[in-house]
Symmetry: C2
Subunit: 453 residues, 2 copies
Amino acid sequence: MQKQRLALLALPFLLVAAAPPHDPAKLRDAALKDDTAWTIAEGLTTEIGPRLAGSAQEARARDWAVAKLKSLGFKNVHVETFDIPGWERGEERGAIVTPYPQPLALTALGNSGATPADGVEAPLVAFANVAALQAAPADQIKGKIVYVGNEMRPAQDGSSYGYFGAVRRSAPSIAAQKGAVAIVIRGLGTDSHRVPHTGVTNFEAGVTPIAAAALSNPDADQIERIVAQGKPITLRLLVTPRRTGPRQSGNVIAEVPGTDPGAGIVAIGGHLDSWDLGTGAIDDAAGVAITAAAAKQIMDAGRPRRTIRVIWFGSEEIGGNGGQAYFDRHKAEPHASVSESDFGADRVWRFETKLNAASAPLTGRLEAALAPLGITKGSGTASAGADLGPWVRAGSNGIDLDQDGLRYFDVHHTSDDTLDKIDPDQLAQNVAAWTAMLAIVANAPESLAGGRD
Amino acid sequence: MQKQRLALLALPFLLVAAAPPHDPAKLRDAALKDDTAWTIAEGLTTEIGPRLAGSAQEARARDWAVAKLKSLGFKNVHVETFDIPGWERGEERGAIVTPYPQPLALTALGNSGATPADGVEAPLVAFANVAALQAAPADQIKGKIVYVGNEMRPAQDGSSYGYFGAVRRSAPSIAAQKGAVAIVIRGLGTDSHRVPHTGVTNFEAGVTPIAAAALSNPDADQIERIVAQGKPITLRLLVTPRRTGPRQSGNVIAEVPGTDPGAGIVAIGGHLDSWDLGTGAIDDAAGVAITAAAAKQIMDAGRPRRTIRVIWFGSEEIGGNGGQAYFDRHKAEPHASVSESDFGADRVWRFETKLNAASAPLTGRLEAALAPLGITKGSGTASAGADLGPWVRAGSNGIDLDQDGLRYFDVHHTSDDTLDKIDPDQLAQNVAAWTAMLAIVANAPESLAGGRD
């Protein structure tokens, strides 16, 4: 009570500069020394490991998350469940049969169809990229296994994933429409290891799914070298994932209650589910860890003006279901701003905002508080990620803390996404940036929630 | 004929400095621009791929090698076969059952025994290293699955593989003797990827082999984190390799005939076989490629004094059989010097010699010719590697061109040993160093073969 009154008294001062107990600079610098985020990431990846949406492992992750968030002192910790269409991996093997027999390292894409139980063997037809596949006549493809390459390279802002992502998102459906019996792609990875990159694909309505798998980059190189020799290639594939029917997923929610219930919610989070191949360290134990650790910094310093809601989303990977479920359930609640951490664990290098007019003063305060961490202002195009994006599209404020993505697609969606890929120092820089952002946004004296607060 | 007479006339001059056509400096610098080695490494890893000793793939590799060496212009190209005890990989899967169920990335060690066909599930007992395993009483181990860690770190000269190698070479036999039902080790790798490192183990006479597998480093980290929590661990393993009975392997031999048959042979080579997981690029397509490419540089410049014999050994990995077979068959032939390339494809940084008194003048000539490539003189402890080591131990001259091993154990014996791991520039530096060495040794006027020439 006393704390609450103190915060209200401090309000006029906040208009000039952030006041105790939530001085952004002080909290930011203290957060650099906090290991809460590391502890969360270590615990989730060790004690749960892989946690595919809809699986028993994801359900265990929710139980783990509730216990962890309660133990950290958060309030109103609870799970909001929803159903998803389940999909799970089966066997997956592949080989070059001719001209040079040898095994291939590959993995099924999410939503892939299956080969027959004893596999499929067919001639390969290869395309350099999606455009070449699109341009090819169906009679060149019918009855064959399609290969599609891509030229994705690392980019700090991850933008390469947009354009080149079509090879995974669209090529399988196009190949299926043209009569291919299966498809293998050069996966969306910037590494050169025998660890193929999975990720979701989607078949257009009316298209019967075919087996769709990603090759590791060294395997794609091998295919392309043989293609360059002009030799006909035959592949054998055994890929047997299946649709399981409806499965339960859920979002785990925790709060730092604010002193001003009418000021709108500051929603932050990452996603709790992961692909099944690795232990989901950079995607996205890091994101849930960073956001919860930053919220805890604020909580431990005293009550902020606004309620901070930490959401650990379920089923982001296989269809963005958790984000949509949260929006559908909470859309009547005013949100002052939304922010997601879902791009690894490397340092924040830029912040992006998408703010309504009343919230414009936040930008300068963010710039000042984040610059000492090496973070610059972007071009005003925040998206709030896959899970909180619906809010920005519906008009809420969005603030992105953009992580350096130069290494992200080296291990993204592979078995190699494990705890050792997280750099503790860069993880702490993330927590510091999020703490500073929360100190500013959760305490901002302006009316942020589109005039609703 | 004319060339031969010219070489003989040039002999007195060679005592002062290397004369045309084999000027070490000129040939060395020309070799930096030659892509023969790359072409061999690319061809072998692409057109054959994995080539486990005794397999059909290794036999195909011999056919490929004979054709390649003939097409390069070598003389007396032939295969010398021998039998080996065959071993081949079966299924291999593992998982933590309790306390935190999740799959493990592992691979059987060469010569591993098998679990029952439906696997084995047992409590884990963990040791930090081989010394701790050795010190433990049998009743602590009986009926359990043993885990043994190791602290191997990269070293430029690869020396870490000696000491830490005991975890792979010896721990399985020790664990079996003490009644373990299976063993998993932290593999001998310096990377942090989910690609476990295989390699040979040996069970002592009278010890019944147990299933023995290597975990990738991230998986070993995971086990050690849970051990550190003090939680009892149960593992499930399915590892079903088998001994196949006798299989045929063979050495592929090619020569650059010398002008002086009595001057002893200069024997160089690498090994043609590889582990079955990768395509054997750095281990050891690089070695066969480097040595053949260097010999071709000499051949193309004219006939050297001594015959250069290029040997692409079979079955190095599983038991060093090819090297022993060559020694047993050829030990009556005087060898002027022996040198093997079997430590990857990174640059040569040091040369080592082990020379008889008459051959001592070679050292200074090697030092002068190799220094411009950044190569320094070692401490006089050449070993000539696994395949040609028997010759050095029997008193022949040995010359080692030591490659930089700081990255070697990142991919050594994994599925990740693929062509992309070879740096073409560093490969060319190797060829240049070997060319300079051959120009000096094959033409040296001294009597090198222990007084037998």
